[in-house]
Symmetry: C2
Subunit: 319 residues, 2 copies
């Protein structure tokens, strides 16, 4: 029997760092979570990463063939640098890959978190048997990754796949990226929650109100979904609107790329069947006729700890 | 001295077929134009193509290394088939490549006309020294081609690069593709001219009125450009609006692809400096920050007979 291979996946976020030991099938054998210390500067963040990797290594006798790191910000793959990740203080450009590699003498792969999520689905998840697909991650931001013939598409300098920043209304609402009317400005978590809060203060009948604290401080996609399951019309209309906005952006992406399989993950994907149905139906009215019959919209398979799994998949992915 | 190589380029349009003998530098040595007979069905169209090629061959003793055909509709590259080209009657799927190859015993390359235009710029024109660029052709339709590392990007089944059908306002005007708010629905020739006609009937001061017949039947991008050169404010505003709409669509394309060189050709590109300036300035406000400094917007170099040249470039292009 061939020896099993293991990888370490590091999911670097602004609040916490999640680190796990993952096998070739994407199964997490052990995991740990640490504070990012992102406000203290890169030295402290790297210290935490090293600390976490050490504690994972302590728990295992398995042979580790590589460490994958999924990070926000701009990544230079070959050098393993991470540049200006949002929500990290005093960062600039940091040779993260080299520093971790030096410490453990294990090969390190650094990739931006959206691409890592797409590679995770390709290696372990919904994309295992699919050649080309568009991965959308619905979270605070709307992230994306493009898989073409089993490879991640990077563009000229590795900045490709900014799928949350596709315009759906050029004269619409401002997006924090500096443009106007991006998909993210309608369905990114914060924008979405703010819009719902504004609506709710006018609309008193929705069940969302009963499921939330009075000040709506705990309002979340999960609560909107729960209200929709209780047949709340307003909650359902939010989910449908989210699906339509996403589909408007996806329409442009499909028409540009001629890739017709869409995989959707992240918290807002928890809106469930109604979201997926709306995306698929709307998308079919927004793409060129020859594409319509080929459209397939799938939920991501990596749900809990998708960040760790995506990062670990970088080790098993042959680029 | 190595022997010069020549290709025949066939530009198949709904009204006319243009055929030329072209050298490796993209210079046309001889050309002819025939009626397409598109209303009489494919047999008659093919007869015209054969007739035209024969008349080109008669005029030359050069050795022809291939025939390139740029055609509208859906193209299957390997089989050389052309499917349902718009404005051609009773067409279905026609094995155009095979029929021409059989007649002349010369290798035939069939490609859709938008991709042929991009390959033309790559082989002879503005893209000769550029690895990756986005080609936009502004005509009746807004067409596009994507060159990535000197290769045309085709997508899963060869339908990629529908750049005129990127959404700029998902709640905007209907597009004849069936979607809503596509770039083409704002700046495609017919839409553009119709909008200007409507505006002019309300606005009596514009110099466009003096440059046109009373019923505006000869209104064209060229006349709008001429009026702008006479400092007509309304004409200038049309050009700027066209540039902005194009830039809104390009913003999405750049954010998806991380390709930052844009080549613009076709009739409406005759709007000149003001158009290019507006596209570049607007685009820089619509793409992610890391892309902004890298944005370059260039006019296509193949102007007259770009169709023949693009088709002939298929022969010199190594896919």
């Amino acid at each position: 029997m061939p020896k099993k291979k293991y990888a370490i996946g590091v999911d670097l976020g602004g609040t916490s760092i999640k680190i796990g030991l993952v096998d070739e099938q994407g199964k997490i054998k052990f995991k740990t979570t640490l504070d990012s210390n992102s406000s203290l500067g890169p030295k402290h963040v790297i210290k935490q990463i090293k600390h976490g990797i050490k504690s994972v290594l302590k728990e295992t006798n398995y042979e580790i063939i590589g460490i994958g790191i999924g990070a926000p910000g701009t990544i230079k793959l070959k050098k393993g640098t991470v540049e200006d990740p949002p929500n990290f203080t005093g960062w600039g450009r940091v040779h993260l890959g080299k520093q971790i590699e030096k410490e453990f003498n294990i090969k390190v792969y650094v990739e931006n978190d959206a691409n890592a999520a797409a590679i995770g689905e390709l290696i372990y998840g919904a994309g295992k048997k699919i050649n080309s697909f568009i991965m959308i991650t619905l979270g605070t931001g709307v992230g994306g990754g493009i898989i073409i013939n089993k490879k991640i598409y990077r563009g000229e300098v590795g900045g490709g796949g900014e799928l949350g920043h596709v315009t759906i209304d050029a004269n619409g609402v401002p997006c924090k990226c500096g443009s106007i009317g991006c998909v993210e400005a309608y369905i990114g978590n914060n924008y979405l929650i703010e819009n719902v809060k504004r609506d709710l203060s006018k609309n008193s009948n929705s069940k969302i109100k009963k499921l939330c604290r009075k000040d709506f401080s705990d309002l979340s996609p999960k609560i909107i979904f729960e209200a929709s399951q209780l047949n709340d019309e307003y909650a359902k209309s939010i989910i449908q609107k989210t699906g339509r906005c996403l589909a408007f952006g996806l329409g442009s992406i499909v028409n540009i790329l001629d890739i017709t399989t869409i995989v959707i993950g992240g918290g807002v994907a928890g809106f469930g069947e109604l979201l997926f149905e709306t995306v698929e139906n709307t998308l079919c009215t927004r793409v060129m006729k020859p594409f319509r019959k080929r459209i397939v919209v799938l939920p991501a398979k990596l749900k809990n700890e998708a960040g760790i799994k995506g990062a670990s998949a970088l080790v098993f992915y042959k680029s």
